[in-house]
Amino acid sequence: MEFLGLSLALFGAALAAALSGIGSAMGIGIAGGSAAGVMTEDPDKFGSCLILQALPGTQGIYGLLIAFFVLNKLGLLGGAGAVALNWNQGLQIFASCLPIAIVGWISAIWQGRTSAASIQMISKKPEAMGKAIILPAMVETYAVLALLTSILMLMGVQVG
């Protein structure tokens, strides 16, 4: 039981980075398929397509950020050694990681679908690039809210 708290906290950090990373990879993959289709016919649209394809990548960064926060809180960065955690504290850190892990994973996939649709939109109406970015950015809102929730929860957990 001695290391259960630390294990739970690390498991949370791993989930935050892994699930949101998987979601981002899937979202970028979906948008990339659409971008490839448009660029087959019109290679000049590379710039616009790249911006829209990159949008679902932010969730992966948010997950990584939370994982860093957790590792920092546990004292695993900088070589000072891990702080002592009981299982209750470990569970609190694990719970703090869940918002970005789950919302990051699912929102990235949906943002990828919206980006793919926006890429198809700019293939017919290149002048609507601004609107095409706003649509997938709306999905981003909820990933940002989840990131904030995870940060606020993590800040509230007392360790050491």
Partner: protein
């Protein structure tokens, strides 16, 4: 390849029709055979391009199947004439390259009566056509038999795809063809009891119900079919006093309806039905071009020509 890629590429291919010389049709205009061949070559080239990246090739098969059955009709009718003593009966010029079966192979199979390799039930259908021809000498009965099999084959391919929108489209196509036949039969004053064989099974409307329309005045048909979506296409008939124009108006409205059925797919970034929608739009564009060119070449009334053009 995924439908996200496919649909995105189709969006990229959708170009508005500009001056004829700027369109993709222009590249075919120098070949022999004139505009008709140029239009067919453009659609064939589109089908070949699509087949390189569409995940379900059966979507293209559904579009191309009617051309296979058209070719079978042309070849059989030609042979009927030749065997009836008309040496110049064959009309190879009417054969379309848009079918899925290689035209040389199909011609050879029908002329040598080696049907074994033919798909879509043609192996059994062609001997049956010969039997009917020998008994009745009626090309119309043979054509009906071929059409019945064509719709059965289209429905089978669509059901195999397991895409509800595509199956619904094939059923709507059968209904549209039945209604088109009903308008023609009404012009010829057919009775419903004799007309039933002209209608195909497999649509949303039962052939019996379509046949019953023949007992009613034509201006009431759209009201009688108001419980269906396709019934609205018959409004065009109410608006025409001239029967000849009514037939062309209804035919155009039904073609437009068949495109409208698939239009919700436009709002999806990965709906497979987009492939069929693209091909039908391309076909409508080609048909419009053909109408316009025939009107100009034949010096036909411009208003009549404009009326035939599809808005799809």
């Amino acid at each position: 390849m995924s439908y996200v890629y496919t649909v995105a590429r189709l969006r990229g291919m959708e170009n508005a029709l500009k001056a004829l010389s700027e369109t993709s049709y222009a590249q075919w205009l120098n070949q022999s055979g004139g505009f008709d061949k140029a239009i067919d070559s453009e659609i064939l080239s589109t089908c070949e391009e699509l087949s390189s990246f569409v995940p379900d090739k059966e979507l293209l098969t559904i579009f191309r199947l009617p051309y296979d059955f058209h070719n079978v009709k042309v070849l059989l009718k030609g042979l009927f004439k030749v065997r009836g003593g008309e040496a110049e009966g064959r009309r190879y010029d009417l054969i379309s390259k848009l079918g899925t079966i290689n035209t040389e192979e199909l011609t050879e199979a029908i002329e040598t009566e080696e049907y074994g390799f033919l798909p879509y039930g043609l192996t059994d259908l062609i001997p049956e056509c010969w039997k009917i021809w020998e008994q009745t000498k009626s090309a119309q009965t043979v054509e009906l038999l071929i059409d019945h099999q064509m719709f059965r084959a289209m429905l089978k391919v669509a059901e195999g795809l397991n895409i509800p929108e595509v199956t619904a489209w094939v059923k709507n196509k059968i209904d549209a063809e039945n209604l088109r036949s009903a308008v023609r039969l009404a012009r010829m004053k057919y009775e419903s009891s004799k007309a039933i064989n002209f209608f195909h099974e497999g649509g949303f409307l039962r052939p019996d119900d379509v046949a019953k329309l023949l007992n009613e005045p034509q201006e009431t048909w759209s009201r009688l079919l108001s419980y269906t979506d396709i019934g609205a296409a018959l409004n065009a008939m109410q608006e025409s006093s001239d029967l000849k124009l009514a037939l062309s108006d209804v035919s155009k409205a039904l073609d437009e309806y068949l495109i409208k059925v698939l239009e919700p797919a436009k709002y999806s970034m990965d709906a497979p039905a987009n492939v069929l929608l693209y091909l039908l739009t391309k076909e409508a564009e080609a048909r419009n071009l053909r109408v316009a060119l025939v009107c100009v070449a034949g010096g036909l009334d411009r208003e009549f020509g404009r009326r035939l053009l599809s808005n799809a």
